[in-house]
Symmetry: C2
DNA sequence: TTGTAAGCGTTATCAA
DNA sequence: TTGATAACGCTTACAA
């Protein structure tokens, strides 16, 4: 840890600038000199300091990824996509978990700024609008992922949540369901709101009255789905189908149904959102709306890079992925009551 | 991004050293002066540079976490544990995915060293012994997690894989199974080897001959489990139970069994390893060996911190967690053939 | 082609 | 209590 560019220069019998040049491939260097430098560096086990480098370059080649919880199966996919694109471009990523806590979000972002990340990919709560605005105002490149933040003028990559929910509920309606409940996600996230919106829209276009009592909010976890499922299934008349805010919730709902002695899909149809691995593994397979999470992560990082390098500037761009309805085994035709 | 400690000093009408003192809480500063500095910093929106700070302190307050794949449900838990402990201590973590590729492992570690992380938590392949040795020799604090690396003299936190496998197989044996196959993990990981060892040991102590044909290696994925399951179930005589290298593999095996028209646990008992969330969600619930992944992550970070701060020095320590057999629905008594 | 030296933004030493 | 000032390790004009 003690060997610096100076040591390398000395050992190679050249100036530090020359060492810098060969190591960075900038400027002309005689082949023979280059050899000597490389040899010296190798012999000394020289590890250049990106700290020092970053200080002068005003670039750290690092980015920050701020997500709610890596433990929620949806985020590892996004994270992997981001990481893949980042490391291909020579960047390293800082990971921060916020649990959707606005205070933690602010804290993490602050830390990242102190670390002088070149950009931030942010999956945050709706409340964080000012946070993002400030970042933007301060010229920190960033892209907001998965959730839309107000009308902030930022690069955003997400899926059409409203449309996805709409497709999911239409599917249910086509199957003959009328009493469709919604086990909703986190109410303070735009994602949760948009999916709820799609649900509502589907009912409307089918001429089904929207019943506020048929939607129960929670958060995006399995446990929440279980609790909300219990509530919903205790209602009378009982819903014949439930559209869940995401797959974890859907799985929790199914668990609650089972415990209530209900069979899915015979007594209850369930649709999720995301298409995490678990959804394809459980039996029956979960009907859901697929989100290309990994590609979304890649794209977000690619867009961030364009901002960092200045290849792109100007108003925020939006890339909206079209989700895809994946019909598996948890949905089934509702036989008309005799 | 342009405001520096100098600007703050000027605005507060003090020297930079004073600003540094109040911001870091080091040394004496008159209350009134402190106020002025704080005000100036706030007014200017000053964000101290950890790059510059790290350069002089020779500490970056960052750590690197190197894992195979965040997409494998076991690692988010570990990652979260590490992150929790890290952020509590004021550290930020760099995340690297290696896909168990030795070349990538080396590359990522190099990157982390350049970034001057204060320490590294490493989940790598057995082959990387030299890599770890070099790190140690260079005085980079580190702890190896989940997998044991040779007899390298490093802090290590893992679970007793041999014992866990032993417990799993004993369970199967107690249930009356004799033809027990092993859908093994990645052969080049110590983890995979140890679990295989426990499997073998259980058979031996029960007086069951170890049959090399009954163990098939793959990697720690669902797909691998599916493929290996097909192979194993095609054997004659067919095994009545399969011990899988981890939960994902177990789930893949179960899928293969289903497709072969076999019922789990009636025709085949299956036990996994890890106890990821999915294992509790699927029906029937997967019998498995629980690993306290999140706590392991926390502990690893805590141990790393002790090295970084110099609170602990000397030979590598090992913390071996005792795994716990969780019996759920995929294992069942083997009725003696009539 | 290559070397010298001036920063980059902080901390820490030494006086005052 | 506080202020200069010398590092920290590297990049980049500017000269040579």
């Amino acid at each position: 840890m003690a060997v610096t560019i100076r040591d390398v220069a000395q050992r190679a019998g050249v100036g530090v600038a020359t060492v810098s040049r060969v190591l960075n491939g900038t400027g002309y260097v005689k082949a023979e000199t280059r050899e000597r430098v490389l040899e010296a560096a190798a012999a000394l086990g020289y590890v250049p300091s990106q700290l020092a480098r970053g200080l002068v370059r005003h670039l750290s080649d690092t980015v920050g990824l701020v997500i709610p919880d890596i433990t929620n199966p949806f985020f590892p996919l996004i994270t992997r996509g981001v990481e893949d694109a980042a490391s291909e471009a020579g960047y390293t990523v800082f990971l921060c978990n916020t649990d959707n806590d606005p205070a933690l979000e602010a804290h993490d972002v602050q830390k990242l700024r102190e670390r002088r990340v070149d950009g931030i990919i942010f999956v945050g709560t709706t409340e964080r609008r000012e946070l993002v605005d400030r970042l933007l105002a301060d010229g920190v490149p960033m892209v907001v992922m998965d959730r839309q933040l107000g009308h902030a003028d930022v690069d955003t990559v997400l899926v059409d949540n409203r449309w996805g929910a709409l497709a999911a509920c239409r599917h249910l309606i086509e199957l003959g369901h009328r009493r469709i409940a919604h086990a909703a996600g986190h109410q303070s996230t735009r994602t949760g709101q948009d999916r709820h919106e799609g649900y509502r829209e589907a009912l409307e276009e089918a001429g089904i009255a929207y019943d506020p009592a048929a939607v129960v909010w929670g958060d995006f976890t399995y446990e929440s789905g279980y609790r909300v499922g219990q509530v919903l299934l205790g209602r009378y008349p009982r819903p014949t189908a439930i559209f869940a805010g995401n797959d974890l919730i859907a799985l929790g709902v199914i668990r609650a149904a089972e415990e209530a002695g209900l069979s899915v899909p015979d007594d209850l149809s369930v649709v999720g959102f995301d298409d995490i691995q678990m959804s394809a593994v459980v039996r029956p397979g979960l009907t859901t709306v697929r989100q290309p999470a990994r590609e979304m992560g890649r794209l977000a990082m690619a867009m961030l890079l364009e901002r960092i390098t200045g290849k792109v500037s100007g108003p925020g761009r939006r890339h909206v992925f079209q989700p895809e309805l994946i019909v598996r085994g948890t949905t089934r035709r509702r036989e008309p009551l005799a």
